[in-house]
Amino acid sequence: MAEEMRLVLRNLGKIDPLKIDDYLAAGGFNSLKKALGMNKSDLIQEIKDSKLRGRGGAGFNCGSKWNFAAQAQADQKYVICNADEGEPGTYKDRLILENDPHALLEGMAICAHAIGASQGFIYCRGEYPAAAEILKEAIAQAKDKGVLGDFDVEVRLGAGAYVCGEETALIESIEGKPGEPRIKPPFPPVSGLWGKPTIVNNVETFVNIPLILEKGAAWYAAIGSPSYPGTKVLTLSGDVVHKTFFEVPTTTTVREVIYGLGGGLTAGKQLKAVQIGGTSGAFIPADQLDTAIGFDELSAIGAVLGSGAVFVLNESRDLADVTARIAKFFAHESCGKCTPCREGTARMSDILDKINNGQGKAADLALLSRLGRVMSCSSFCGLGQAAPSPLMSALKHFPADYEARLN
């Protein structure tokens, strides 16, 4: 039986997020003090040794990323928190922002010290105005107490663009421009915000940092999957009994999450598919539920851990309908910069509508598969590369849902 392990959500429900004294009483900012007393290279080595990988979806080794920015020579560097949580079915960052804002500030301040930055930004999605207000209050309290030292943080509000979750699009948005991704390389740790070395990490990634310094890299590396240690905050939605959040070690299986913690499916129905990682994730059929919620374990079956969203579909759901809705999402959210994504997402949506209207031919299914391959290979950024993934996995595992609608 799977059990929760609350590391990232350690203070949820235990402290008042608007009282910095609560956070201090819980040992808050001790890790920052420890970090400030450490040699920068030792500090980065500690994060590397913990094997913490980014929780935003790409899974890059956090300490290695910091090292690139630390080694870059510049008069100014920046630390950015990606709080543009737009992946449908996901609200784990909102939970952290609303319940433990100081842990985020502490993680960012530790990063700032490690790379030699004095300015930070929290890019909070426009759909979370309440979280943004909590963050602003937390920053004001932290400045009042002087706990952040020379490190200054500002909140910037997004305005409803999923693509801004992509780190270079996010940087463009902070610069006051449309959120279109930049060509990489150079990567942000070398040239990011206003051309300066910049670390962009997800909310959940930063909140792990104080804990790693408190308990040690070895302690952290021993939790969960060896290749992606620690926990993952999961948010359950769809046809599952407990539509709520859980934080589990990354060795927990999908089955344990849905049937153990999640309480199984509503109305005693059978599971048809589960989509992990948000709307850009792959659909997983029932016979692969014993896969662990680890980055590499899910990659191995052609799925992704992504944001940690767990979207459960019962036997009555039609993948042709659900993937058509998802295709509309991507057609709407494509920024339009590159042709494979701009045209591909729109055509994918059109063809799926045609199939759902009973006007599709077998050739349309072949066309969708080819279009998906082209988009995933040739799109400019992760949005267009991942956009075909839900449909490709649904066509692979549930072809009957589409074939039944063909003319």
Partner: protein
């Protein structure tokens, strides 16, 4: 409306155009052409570039909107939870279609993608405030305080 007064708060902020647009929308529910032109002048960028920002982001509108903007999430978790029924109920209740505004200038109906409240789908927001587990039966009760124009 004196846009200059609002814009002045953001002109020293690097990249502050988006924050400035949020501030104007907080007052007017949309970004009038004159506000965009003045913002471009204040930030020292071409008007086309400021307009590009205003139209890139889904939360900004260059068309007038009602005082209360109702956004209905249509992302997958809300979709399977019955968002279409909520859309139909809201259209009927307000007598307008999605994208439209009521003649009294009070309400606008818009689609949105995920607003991160998927624990209780379907979800709508009114001027950013989320309402969860929405059903057609709950609509008139949710709108009641806004109709009194508080």
């Amino acid at each position: 409306m004196d846009y200059q007064k609002i814009l002045a708060d953001y002109v020293e902020m690097p990249g502050g155009l988006i924050e400035a647009f949020h501030a104007i929308q907080a007052e007017l529910s949309y970004l009038p052409e004159e506000a965009i032109i003045q913002a471009a002048q204040v930030f020292g960028i071409p008007a086309a570039q400021a307009y590009g920002v205003a139209t890139f982001y889904s939360m900004f509108s260059v068309k007038p909107r009602g005082k209360f903007v109702i956004r209905i999430c249509e992302s997958a978790p809300c979709h399977i939870a019955g968002a279409a029924k909520v859309v139909a109920a809201l259209e009927k209740e307000l007598g307008i279609n999605m994208g439209g505004s009521t003649p009294d200038g009070l309400f606008t109906l818009e689609f949105t993608e995920c607003v991160g409240q998927c624990q209780a789908a379907p979800v709508i927001t009114i001027n950013g405030k989320p309402y969860t587990d929405v059903s057609p039966e709950k609509i008139s009760g949710i709108l009641e305080p806004y109709r009194k124009n508080i």
